[in-house]
Each structure stands twice: as structure tokens, then as C-alpha cells.
Symmetry: C7
Subunit: 241 residues, 7 copies
């Protein structure tokens, strides 16, 4: 076995300087088999994520990977579902506590940093396992405009122009990279369109409006798109091809 | 052995990102060999669950898998019996404490979320094992009407139109899925009838009134059906076929 | 070995969802090689249990498996003797504390539940091993009349019409089940007679008065039967056959 | 190996429901290779125990297995010597504390129970090993007359008519059992004589006065017999044969 | 395997007196595959470090290995990124706390010592793993002028004239050593030039301005060089060869 | 291996009822390869112990195995040197604290008992290893005259007429036993002479004054013998042979 | 392997009574490959230690093995560098705290004892590993004149006339032993000369002034010798041969 015993203790180095449990936590992100993308546009930040209702008995509205963290921050959490809920609750609590103490909304960068710090702690301390969940955070910052952050189980966070997370993270990233090279076209396309297209391309199937969830954050609003809105974007993408 | 040692410590990831002890906890749900179903109707939420009295010496009334959590919430707990009682007591205590603090009954969704959060904690922390028990929670919400939730040992909770739990969870779910497709028929049938039929079908045996327990929650009442009531439904189902 | 390592840690699941240490605790009940029975009659609840004095040097009166828990509750504890004493002391303390707080005797059902809860805790927490002891609790409840409860190391408790515990638990249970079917005869026979006969039958030997202990609880009294009383019942049973 | 790993952790059950570490603690009682007996007579309780001075350099008086616990209780502790001293100190402290709180001497039965409870705790808790020591406690109770108790590492205690402990526990017990059958003779013989004879018989050697220690408790006194007294009894026994 | 089990516990010695986990932590520094250098000039201290943006989606400005610790101290942290952020935050907090208590900036030597002490603690204590990160700290001290310190996971810190850290630490060090021998030339060359050249030489590739980050600390300023400034130095180096 | 794994945990029983770690601690007493003896005379108690200065660089006076514990108690500690110092410091602190509380010197028997109790604790508790050190304590008691005690790592203590400890403990004990049989001669010989002779005999070499340390305690003094005094005794012994 | 598993737990005895982890800590002293010596003269105590600057980039003055502990005590710490710094800081803090409490400098013997006690604690307690560092402490005591102490990882401390520590400890000790035999010559030679010569001899190479550090403590001063001073001694030694 590759880990040779170094992977059975929560937080020790292997001889190559790797911490196996952290690497396994990344694999846990894919266990729910979902893909999410986020795009930072000129005036809008967007998250689009697969929605897979396990069976027809589940109430559709109770299945979601997108959560509102504060008045101006939305978050997509992919991975072990209860870990995701735990992370989201923590993020909400951090944001609320910041607002209470400082009187203004917690900037999304600070929030991403805080969530990453908490994850780092689990990688160093033997008491609890890492959380098997990745986060995408979007917001509209008064000074910096739309923003997109990614937080991983190892405790990394990054500001992104566009980002993918989950099972089809590879193809979606490639798709983004191709598009972002054509800078003008990138800037002139609405980020919701870019996000939905990337998701569709990476999944390699015809996506229908109720297979995905899309949230867009602009200067004043955090808004979940209705199925009709999503359908319009899908038609637009289909017609354009 | 499949777990290769990764399953002998309470909370570590295997190289595939799985937490084995959590998966084993799911298996523990079936160790008491019971099946439970819950159905959300238009005005009523229903739980129906097998009642298996181990032998004729046991006092029938002392054997139950259904518990009242608060004035408006009923719960069915399947799995390791003492774990089930522990969970139920905890749920009752959470609900009572909420009522005391806020002056109104704890909404069932909040309660389901709370119980799921507690379960998640056991999956991350090495101190105590997960609880080998699944919960079905039903209630009548003033705003949202009847509601059905499922909480599992991993810490997931879901709002459901109908749900099955336990040994015959597969067949019962299939049964529900077939019925729910015929939407009109679904809505026009009383949820108690649906629940009892699904239970009977999945068990593949003739169910008698005293083999099952049925609780129905409506706007004003949480009511356990008498054997006579159950018998009437059974006759109805039999006659209809 | 069947446990394959899953049985050497106090509280983890095996891949089949079993907790081995709890199962082994059940085996510990039989290590003292005793059998006990309890019967709930119309006006009387009875415990009858083997008394085995290890050798002629031991003072007979100091050997007992039956303890008075409160003014109205008697208890038989079978298994590892020091564990039994520990459990009994705990039960006495719980009952006394309840009385002190509430001004009336702790109902036996509540007490059984409390003892079961304490056992459940040991099955989930790694700090201490489970107690290798089973309890039979009998009482006379003002509202419900005579009552019989069984509490096991896993944390289960059950109200029973009749119950057996220990090495010959199987034959004694069978014996009870045969008798309870003939409902009229069951109800017309004095529970002390039923209990003693079941014990005698299951042991497969001629029982003498000083081989067993019998305690009967009625509305007003918790009373240990004298050897003469027991002898009368034994004669009655013998003559009847 | 018989224990197969179940004997290397302080407090877990083996698949047969045994706690190996407790059983090994019993073996530790014999590591000092001593035998002790105690006899309850009509007006007197007696302990007689081998005295083995390791070499001629040791001061005779500093070697003893018998300790006074309170004004009316004497105790013989056999096994790992420092464990024995620890137990004795604890017993003295419990007795003193009881006297202080209640104003009268701690009844020996209560003391035996308390010491047994403390031992039981070590068998359940992983923190500390069991004590490798057995206790014989004798006293004269105002109500019950002479009393003899035995406390073992598992946490058991028993009232006894006569009892043996240590390497030759088997033969000494047999010797007592033979004698106690002849009830009249038993009652008419002085318990000191019985105790010394049993010790001598079980050891299978000619015992001299300074090879044994004898303590007798009567209504008013706890008294260590002088070598002369012991010699007289030895002569008496020898002459009688 | 070389470690033979001595490397699987966080902090024990191997028979040769080595602490393996500490050595593995050094390997972790190279897992992000970056190289950093720092040079102490007459009036300026400089850090130059590779900047590798993982893909075109990441916002360039959010990727950096250089952090400002206080008004006069800059720091480069190479290794596991979340560990690096953790270390930097700690350093900032130590510096701020010192300023608050003493009213003047924390001297960089003291800060380096403090960070090293914290690392030493992890090597001795079993509770948490070592941090897989190396630090370069630069500052301008009012009395001692420019200063450069290196802090490693083992808890060592050293004042340096020039220092390299990371994957190409070897070649960069060699490069420095060659240059520093020609003392006059060394002193007459601007430290930024020396640093960039060493980085370029060790990497063995043509470096472009946006492949590296350069920070220079002088008496009054801590300044990140713009891409234009860096480009000028690169041209200067190219022209000189 | 003899211990078969039972010797690798600090405090568990082996199947034969042995605690291996305690037995290994006894072996640690001999690791410094010293021998000490103590003799109780009519008016004097004496300790004589080898003094082995590792090399000529060590300051002679800083090497000693004998320590003054209180005004009237001297102690010789043989074994792992730092453990010895730790024990001695503890003994001094116990004695001082006793004096402070009670206003008179701590009797040596009480002190020996206390030190033995502390050792016993280490044998039962898994937290810390046993101390690899044996103690000889001598004193002059106002009531009992000269006294000699031995305390070992298992937690035993014994009053002795004469005692040996360390590598040559066997031969020295034999030597004492031979002499003590000739009672008159024993009592008429000065204990210092007996002690030195026993040490010399057991070591099997010609002892010189500066190879040994001798301390004598009489009614009023605790006195270290000068080299001249020792030399006189050595001459006396030599001349006598 | 020699340790056979006894060397993998921090503080347990091997069957021969050895504590392996402590022995491995001694090996750690040599991992930095340095040698130090200390000499006690009539009016001066001296430490001389190799100084090995890892490469030309390191600032010479930041590399030292000699630290001032208090106004009158200097210390040389050889071994794992961060452990050494930790020990030195602890020593400084103990000395400062003593001064504050008592109003006069902590005598060096007391300080050495304290540091040794702290080391002993690590050898007995499983919580933290031993420190891989040896200490030489020198001072001028008002009453006893110059003093030299050695403290090792096992918790031993010794007053010395001369002492060596580190890789070439053997040859240096031999060298001292030869010289100290010629007592007059020893006393008439300046201790700095003796120390430097012993260091040079043991290293077997021509030592230059900047290869070593020398600190001398006299009645009033703790002084580091300049390179010029050292050079003079080196010339003196060379000329004398």
C-alpha cells in the first residue's frame, strides 16, 4: 500500500513530507459526485452547481449545495454532506459574529481566510479528522467588486477569476482556461452564461434547468436564478453553438 | 479485508476518502431487522413501522419504535435500541429547551438539523462512536403544513415526500416511487393508506393490525392509530386490490 | 478469530455493524452460572433466583442476588458479582435521589430507563468497559399494579409479563411461553408458583427451598419468602404434577 | 497464548466474557507465597497467617501481614506487599473518616463492602491496574457478634464462617469444610485452635510459634497472641492427635 | 524502510538520535516546488521568490509567498501553504503584541527567535505535528542596519548575509557563495541584483518579471518592486553577462 | 522473549501475576554498579557505600550516594543517579514538611513508609515509569534507638538489622547472615566495623579509605567519617584477620 | 534490532533496566558534530568550544554555542540546536527568577541541579521527549571560587575539574586526564591554555582562532576572548611543543 502506515494516523508526515489524511480528505470531496463552478464577472459573481435529487421522494427544495452566508456572501459546499453543513454553519456564525462586532459585513476574503485557517488546524492536530468538503465563496465587495474564493480541506484559499470543484473539476477548469484566453469575449459574456456553459461542457450531457442551481451576486442582491432564467441561458447557449 | 485497517480507528479517512466507521453505523440500523416508512400527505404526515414483539412474555405496549418528541413532532427511531432511546431523549430535550427559550414549538426542520449536527460531530471526533440509529421525524408546520424528515448516522437530514428506513428500505422506496409518479392518485389517497400499503408490499407478507404501529400528525393532533383503525385501512387495501 | 481485531477496542463497529465488546458483556452474565426469573401477576410481582453458596464456609445470608432498591422496588442482578453490586448501589442512589427531589418513590419504569441509559453510555464511550450484569426489577405501581422490567448490558430495558435471565434463560423462557398461552390458567395461578416452577423446570433438577431465593412485591410490601413458604410452594408444585 | 491479546489491555472483555487482567491479579496474590486463614467462633473471630521473615537480617517485628484497621477491626492482607499496604492504609482512612462523620465505629461489613467497591472500580476503568492483594477482615459486631469477611481483587466480598487465602488456600478450605460438618465439635472448639490447625494441616509442615501470626478479636479486644500463647495451642493440637 | 517505526510517532528519538518527523517536515518545504532567496546589502535587505500561479484562472495578486509582518519586517514563507499562512499570522500577532506592550517595533532578531521557539515546541511535544514551512525574515534595524534571518521547522534560526530556501536551495546557495568571496564586487552590487541573479541562476531558466516577487526593505520603507523595476534589473543582468 | 509483550506497557499484569516493569526497575538499581550496606548497632546506625569517581576530572566531593534528609536521618540512594536525586529531594521535602506541620522531626519509619507509598503509586499508575533506585535510610529514634530501613522500587520498605543493596547485594547479605548468628560477637563489634568489613568482603578487593563513604548516626549526631577514621577501621579489620 | 520495541515508547524500562530513549538522547548530542571543553583553574573557569559556521553566507556572530546565563554564569550547550536554545532560555529564566526572589545571583551549583532536575522529569514522564543537548556551566563562586558543571540529558550533573562534551569527548577527556596527573604543571598552567590545547589535541587538526570560541569567568567578569587573545594562546601552545 502506498501509505505504508503513515496514512493511518491523523496528522503525521510521511518520509516524503506528505500528510496522507489531508490528501484523502480531498478524495472525499468527490464522494457525492457533484461538480460546481464559480465565475467572477465585471459586475456579477456566479456559482453554478449540479443538483442531483437522489430519488423522486426527496423534496426538491430541500436538496441544495448553495447556502447564503451573510447579506452579501453566497457559498457552495461540495463533499461529505454533513461536513458541508457543519462548515456552512460555521461560516454563517463567523460572518454574523463579525457583523455584530464591527457593524459592517465581513469581507468575503476575510471569511475565506478564516474558514481556511480552521481547516489548517484540523491538518495539524490529531484530535479531529479533516473535513471532507470544498467551498466556493462569492460576494460583491464595495471596493473590489465581484469576488470568487475557493477554500480546500488542506486549508488553502485562493481568489479566482473562475474556478471548478468536484468530480469534473478537470474538464471544467480546462474549459475556463480556453475561454479566458480570449479576453474580450470573456469580458463581454455574462458570467452566468460562462458558468452554465462550463458546467454543461464538463458534464458532457444536456443539462436541464432543474439539474443545476445558479446563484448570482451583484452590487445589491444575492439571487438564486429561477428555472425559467436558467432555461433562457441554456437556450441562448444552445442557439449560439 | 476491505477496510485494511482504516476501519478500526473511529474517525480517519481511507485512501478513497471514505470513513468506514460511519458506513458500519448504517449497517447497525438493520441489526434489529425492522422497516419503517413515513409519508407526507396534504394535511397529514404519517409514520408506519413494523412492531415485532420478541416473545409473548414482553408487554406489548412497552415495545415501540415511535416516540413523541414535542406537542407537534413524532419520531420513529430504527436501529440499536439503546442508541435509539438515547437519540430520542436528546431530541426531546432539544425540543423542550427550544420551547422554553423561544416560547413556541421547535420547528421540525430545525430539530432534524440539530439531530443531524449532533451525528456529524460523532463522525469527526474520535472520542465516541457514531450512533447506530436512523430517525424519521414528522410534524405539522403552521406555515408549511405536514413535513417528513429523515436523519441518518452520518449526519444527513432530508425533507421527504415519502421515505423508508430499515431492512426493507429498498423495496419500500421502490414502491413509493412507483406510486408518486401517478401524481393525482397519490394526492387523492390518504397518506395512512399509502404508508401501510408500502410497508405491507415491502415486507412481502400479510400484515395484521398488531404487527405495525401507525402515527398520524395533523394540524391539531399527534395521534397513534388504534388497532381497529389500522385494521380498517388493511381491509380497504385488501378490498382495493 | 471471529472478531478480527474489531473486538479489542471498547467501542467501535465491526463491518457488520456489531459492537463486539457489548456482545461479550452479555456472555459475562453467565459467568456466575445462575438463573433468575421474574413474573408479573395480577396483584403481585415475583422474582425467583437460584442461590448457590460456593462452599459450606460461606455464611448463607451473605449470599444473595436480590436487593431492595427502594421502599417499593426489588431487583435481581445476575452476572459479574462486583459489577452487580455496583449497579445495585447506583440504582439505590438514583431512587433515593429521586425520592428526595420529588417527594414520592421513583416509578420502577423510570428507574429501569435510567439504569438502561447508564449502560448505553458505556457502549458508546471508550473510557470504561460495559458492566457484565443483567437486572430484573419488580415493583407495585399505584396506577399500573405489579410491574417487571429487564435491563441488559447493551442498555435495553423492557416491561415483561415474565422473564428469565442467566444460564438457563432459554429453557425458562420456553417454559413461560408455554404457560402464558393458557391465559386463564396463567391468571389463576399464583405468580410465586409460576416463577418457582419455571426455575425448577429450566434447571432440570429437584430444587430445595434453600437453593432459591424468592421475593414478592405486593401493594404494600416487598417481602422475601421464608424457606417454609418456598417449601410449601414446592410441595404444591410436586403434588400437582 | 490463551489470552490472545485480550489480556494486554487493562479492562476489556474476552469473547467468553472474561476480564483477563482481573484474573491475573488473583495470581498476584500468591506471588509472596503465604497462606492465611480466618475463623468465626461464637465469641471470637480469629486470623492466623504464615509469617515468613525473608532472612535473619530483617527485624522480625517489621514483618507482618496483619494490621489493625480501627478499634474493633483487624485485617490480614496477602499478595503484592506494597499493594497490601496501600489497601490497608485506605481501609484505615475509610474507617477513621466514618468514625469522624458518624461518631461510632464503621461496621466491618460496611468496610468490606467499601473496599470491594474500590476494587471493582479498578476492574472497569482503564486508568489504573487492579491491586494484586486479597483481604481478610475480622471484627466483633455489637449486634451480630464475631464476623469474618473476605475481599478479593475482582471486588467481591463475602461473610464467612471460615476462610483461607493464598498459596495453600485449597487444602486449608478442604480442612475447614471437613471440620465444619461436625457441627458440635466445631462449636465447642476454640476458633484459635481451629485456625492454627487448618494452617498447619494445609502447609503440611510442623509449624512453630514464630512461623505464624495470630490475632483474635473478642467483644472488647483486638489482640495479637504472644508466641507463648501460640505455642500452647500448638502443643494442644499435637497432644490431641 | 529506513525509519523502522521510529518515524511514525511524532516525537521520539531513533537509535541514532534523530527525530524523523522533524526531518520529514523539511521535505514538506519542497512540496510546493518554489525557491526563495534573501540578501543583506549595505542599506537594503531583499527577498526574491518564485511566483508560480497554478493556472490562468487564479487571480495573480492573490498568489504570493511574501507577507508584511510589521511596519519594518517582511517575511517569505515557503512550504505547505496553509502552514505558511498559519506561521505568518502567528508572526504578525507576535509582532503586534510586542509593539502594543513595548511601544516600539519588535526587532526582527527577537521575532525570528520567537518563531523558532514555537517550532521547537512542536518537535518535542507529541500533541501536534511540526509545521512544514521555512521562513525568511528581513528587516532594517535602527542599530544594526539591514538584517536577514532564516527559521526552519526544527526550530533553528540564523542571521545570514544571503540565504536560499526551497527546491533549488542548493544551487542558489552555491551561487551566493561564489559571489560573496569577491567581497568588493559583492558590496558594490545592489542586493536586489544579487538576489534576482541568484534566483535566475539556480532555476536555470530565463526568468520574467512576473515569475518572481521581490521585496526590498530599507531604512524607511518595506517595498514590493513593480514588474517594471524587476524588468530593469533583469535587463541589467542580461546586459552584463 | 520472556515478557511476551506484557513488559511493554507500564502497569499491567502478566498471566502469572507479575508486573514486569517493576521487576525491570530493580535491575536498573545495578546499572551504576555500586554496593551499599547499612548496619544497626546498639547505639549507632551506619551506612557504608562504595564511592566510584568516574574519572580523575570529576571533583571528588561532588560524587556521593549519601544524603542528609533531616537533622536525624541519613539516606543512601543507589541506582539511576537522576532518579536517586529526585527521590532524595522528595524525601527531604517530606521530612521538612512534616517538621513544619508537627514541630518535631519525622520518625524515620514514617518517612520510609511515605517513600514506599510514592513508589507503589508508580507501579499502579500508567502515567509515569517507576524510579530505578533503592534507598537505605538510617536514623536514631528517641524511643527505639538506631534504625535501618530499606525502600525498593516496588514500594516495599523493611526495618533491618543489617542490609545490602546493589550489585554485590548477594555476597554482602551472606556475609551479614554469617556474622549475625554469632550474636554476642555481633553485639560487641562496632557497627562501622561490621559494615566496612561486609562491604570489603562482598567486593572481594582491598578497599581503601577513599573508595568508600561511611556515615554513622548516633543519638546526637549524623556524621560522615573522615578518610582517617575509615583508614583506622580498615587497619583494624586487616590486623584482626 | 537491539531495542526490540522497548525503545519506541518514551519512558519504559527494557528488561535490563535501561531506558532507551534516554540513551538515544545522548547520541543526539553528537548530531551537530561539535566538541566543547571546560576547565576549572585557580582563579578562572574556562569554556572552549568549536565554532563551525555552516557556510560563508551565515553571519559569523550569529553562530555560537556559548550563552551568558546570568551576571556570573556562562554556559555552553551542545546538541540539537533548538533544544539547546530552549534549555538556555530556561536556565536564564530560572536564574533571573532566583535573583528576583532572593536578591542575589543563583549559585551555579543550584542552577546545574535545577537544569538536571528538569531533564530527569522528561525521562520519567511520557508526555515529552528528552532534550538532545548537553550543558557545561561555569561560574566564579564567591566562596568556592571557579566552578565547572556538566549537565546531561539523563538528568545527571557533576562538578568537574575539567570536562569534555560532544563528538571528541573521548580524546579530550584522555588528554585532560594525562595532564591533571602532573599536578604542579596543571596548576601553574593557565586554564585557557589547557582548554585550548585539549580541544586542539582532541580534534587532531590545527585550530585557528576563528574556529573556536573561548569564554573565561573570573571573580569579576564573564569575558569572551577576542580572536587576538585566542591566537596568542595558540602561538604559545605551538611554540611550547
Amino acid at each position: 500500500m502506498s501509505g505504508a502506515g503513515f496514512d493511518r494516523h491523523i496528522t503525521i508526515f510521511s518520509p516524503e513530507g506528505r500528510v496522507y489524511q489531508v490528501e484523502y480528505a480531498f478524495k472525499a470531496i468527490n464522494t457525492t459526485n457533484l461538480t460546481a463552478v464559480a465565475v467572477k464577472g465585471k459586475n456579477t459573481a456566479v456559482i453554478a452547481v449540479q443538483k442531483r435529487v437522489p430519488d423522486s421522494l426527496v423534496i426538491r427544495d430541500s436538496v441544495t449545495s448553495i447556502y447564503q452566508i451573510s447579506k452579501s456572501v453566497a457559498c457552495c459546499a461540495i463533499g461529505i454532506v454533513p461536513d458541508a453543513k457543519f462548515q456552512v454553519k460555521r461560516a454563517q456564525s463567523e460572518a454574523a459574529s463579525f457583523k455584530y462586532k464591527n457593524g459592517y459585513d465581513m469581507p468575503v476574503e476575510l471569511l475565506a481566510k478564516k474558514m481556511a485557517d480552521l481547516n489548517q488546524y484540523y491538518t495539524q492536530n490529531a484530535e479531529m479528522r479533516c473535513l471532507g468538503v470544498g467551498l466556493l465563496l462569492i460576494s460583491f465587495d464595495d471596493e473590489k467588486g465581484p469576488q470568487v474564493f475557493r477554500v480546500d480541506p488542506a486549508g488553502c484559499f485562493r481568489g479566482m477569476n473562475a474556478v471548478a470543484l468536484g468530480t469534473k473539476q478537470g474538464p471544467a477548469t480546462t474549459c475556463f482556461e480556453k475561454k479566458i484566453k480570449k479576453k474580450e469575449q470573456w469580458e463581454s459574456t455574462h458570467p452566468v452564461e460562462i458558468a452554465i456553459e462550463a458546467l454543461q461542457t464538463s458534464l458532457g450531457i444536456d443539462v436541464r434547468a432543474n439539474d443545476i442551481e445558479v446563484v448570482a451576486v451583484t452590487k445589491d442582491t444575492v439571487q438564486k436564478l429561477t428555472d425559467e432564467d436558467v432555461e433562457q441561458y441554456l437556450s441562448l447557449i444552445a442557439s449560439r453553438d
